[in-house]
Symmetry: C2
Subunit: 299 residues, 2 copies
């Protein structure tokens, strides 16, 4: 089955202590869609400006991503610039130019409205709502978010959470949302807000799923070197939804393995700037890392 | 088989945002020995003053801990006092009174010198060396440490690491020791310093083993509430060594499960002040949490 992914489509200028890379393909929808594309047919919903490089459209196409829902509008593509500290965990935003994103209203092509798997990747909750309003009886809806929306669109986010099957956020966002320091206490509170499945991302410490079958403690794939973690969380949730959409059987029986696939997708993302490393991987290489994680967690 | 454990034996006065508990039984050797005692015969090497409460000697005895190697000297027991912040991760030391610890020289009773499993729990590296000098052909020697020794006894610690089968430290200590931000890069460097097995503790994020069979990503047991994390790392390594000492088969084939047992031991430690919760647990309760962790990591 196929996955519909809405989110940001951006140009990212990323600075690390080792290197500087201007105007890479970025944005939550780009990272999530490329990650998902290794598993399922993927439909991207987003917006770019007239300055959007053709090579990036070609990249989407090479991954078989359906870009019927990608609007190309007069104006500039959303441009984000950030800088990482030596430890590659702390980053600060240097610049945010919304460009065409400022007035973006995601419109679903008719053919997309029945997509069974819907990923509302990180984007304003009002836009996530608007996409959800246009899909018909989806099988599984998951949303990701970021601290910005907790700060400036709290009520929109809370009403969105009610509508989700699965909600993904990181540990500091979970703390901000629930005022709980303890991850497991936070998970309990988030379930009460609506979703059957809640996933808390912990970066290099992996992630935790809470669902009807209890907790799943999902490892991160060990990396000796992190080149650029931008988009790792988007790749995680993209890989997760891409895998789920193709797996046989129930969500419940597949979601743990889907998280492992998400984790591996994120590992490739971190190994290169922007999407450079992710686009070079293969399903075989992904499966190899999944088998390695199986070995690294067996006891 | 039995485990010999040397480390600090102390009175801990612990303050958290919720409560204050003076003069609890503490110290690395106390936590590690009680954790180990659920699995194997355990011999404690340490020192206390004449003020050491009889009820704590009784506690050791109730756990079948051999205290032949516990010196009771004129003077005061080592007293540590610390305060935790709201998130229960950051703590600051309020007071350290070394007391009889100041002149402590651990001497092994003859009967202890052939103990096959030796745990050099957190204590000055010079004292860890001194204990190691007295044991005859041990089967497996593991040491734990803390940031203090990296700061004030770096060379002693480095020469100790050479003599170990296994070395346990936390992630910030690994960074301090190797100057590597990345845990996996740090592990590689620490192996080059000597030990076949290196374990990096990451608190509530679990721990990582690096050994001849590659990495093992060990989860922490999920706790909804942490009452007092003091001694969790000592309990981890105590449970690990206690389990290893009784398990049939090679170290290599048992060490992963031993870490899981260590992880569960640490979880009980965190659920009460000092050793209050740990002393109340049972082998059955420990095994139950191990089975839960099996379920929470299967995919």
């Amino acid at each position: 089955m196929s996955v519909l992914i809405v989110g940001s489509t951006a140009l990212d200028s990323i600075k690390t202590p080792k290197a500087e890379n201007p105007r890479l393909l970025g944005g939550s929808a780009s990272h999530a869609s490329v990650a998902a594309s290794f598993f399922s047919p993927t439909k991207l919903i987003g917006v770019v400006g007239e300055d959007f490089p053709k090579k990036y459209l070609a990249l989407y196409q090479r991954h078989g991503i359906d870009t019927t829902g990608l609007q190309i509008l007069p104006g500039k593509t959303f441009h984000w610039s950030g800088e990482y500290e030596e430890n590659m965990n702390n980053r600060r935003t240097l610049l945010t130019e919304l460009g065409v994103f400022e007035t973006f209203s995601p419109e679903l092509p008719k053919a997309h409205q029945g997509t069974p798997y819907v990923l509302l990747a990180n984007i304003a909750p009002a836009l996530q709502h608007h996409v959800l309003d246009q899909v018909k009886r989806p099988k599984f809806v998951v949303a990701d978010t970021m601290d910005l929306w907790l700060n400036i669109a709290f009520n929109d986010l809370v009403s969105l959470i009610k509508r989700l099957d699965g909600f993904v956020l990181n540990d500091s966002e979970a703390h901000q949302l629930t005022k709980e320091d303890n991850v497991f206490a936070a998970l309990k509170k988030i379930h009460k807000m609506g979703p059957k499945y809640v996933i808390i991302k912990k970066g290099s410490h992996g992630s935790i799923l809470s669902g009807p079958k209890g907790f799943f403690i999902c490892p991160a794939y060990p990396l000796h070197k992190v080149v650029d973690p931008t988009g790792a969380g988007d790749s995680f949730v993209g890989g997760l939804m891409g895998y789920l959409a193709t797996a046989q059987g129930s969500i419940e029986s597949n979601i743990r393995r889907a998280m492992i696939y998400g984790s591996v997708s994120a590992s490739f993302c971190c190994e290169g700037f922007g999407l450079v490393r992710t686009t070079r991987t293969t399903r075989q290489e992904i499966d190899r890392r999944v088998r390695e994680l199986e070995k690294m967690t067996a006891f």
